[in-house]
Amino acid sequence: MAGVPLAWYLILSAILFALGIAGFLFRRNLITMFMSIELMLNAVNLSFVAFSYKFGRVDGQIFTFFVMVVAAAEAAVGLAIILAVFRTRKTLAVDEIDSLKY
């Protein structure tokens, strides 16, 4: 019945999360960084659903549902911010969006 053990789901989730972190830290394009955040959110959702199945409770699925809702809200506001940045700066490279740094 169980087939694949819980640990493998967790390892899959961990690798996906690490890939999301790598993408977020390495890339210089704002939109790709945004997509890396979605990767990390999905990694966490994977863990939630795997634990939810393991313990036979739906609380994990409900948390995943709320994470998805927050991700949708974040996508709407975040992409609007990206559009606003592009309109004023004419670039999306994070190296050049540094006026808060100095």
Binding site: I21, M35, V49, G56, L83
Partner: protein, 168 residues
Amino acid sequence: MVSAILFYLFALMILGGAVLMVTRRNAVHAALWLVVTLLGVAGVFLLRSAEFLFVVQIMLYIGGVVLLILFVIMLVNLDAEARQPRFHRQWLLALACAVVVGAEIVYVLLSGLEAFRLAPAVTAVQTGGSTERLADVLFSEYLLPFEIASILLLVAIVGSVVMAKKRI
């Protein structure tokens, strides 16, 4: 047996899509590989009997969020970006951070599930489908967070309209 094969297939989709998403130069290609990853995650949801989340993942993430990202990619002009280096200046520091986080997760996983001190598994109460139980719990125990989430979505709608206006 079938579920194990499906798990490997979906895991391959997730990891392959994620690696290609992070490394592709063209933002549209990256978004399309993100779709592959999200489809793999949806498949794993189905394997773990989360049918409702499977549908929400496809409709909301792939149909909503990725579509929005593709629209924004087409609204901004990334042709000049595509010719510039993919990775930014502090890539050595970024590599160190990614390796540290990865090593930390691997350490926690290697120390075993026992280190988490999990509660004993509850025997699943298999009355009705997973979606039915989800709805029961969502609209009784989690009613207040559900309403707060709807207000959050309303705030996000108003906020994104205000942000995207020509004159702020």
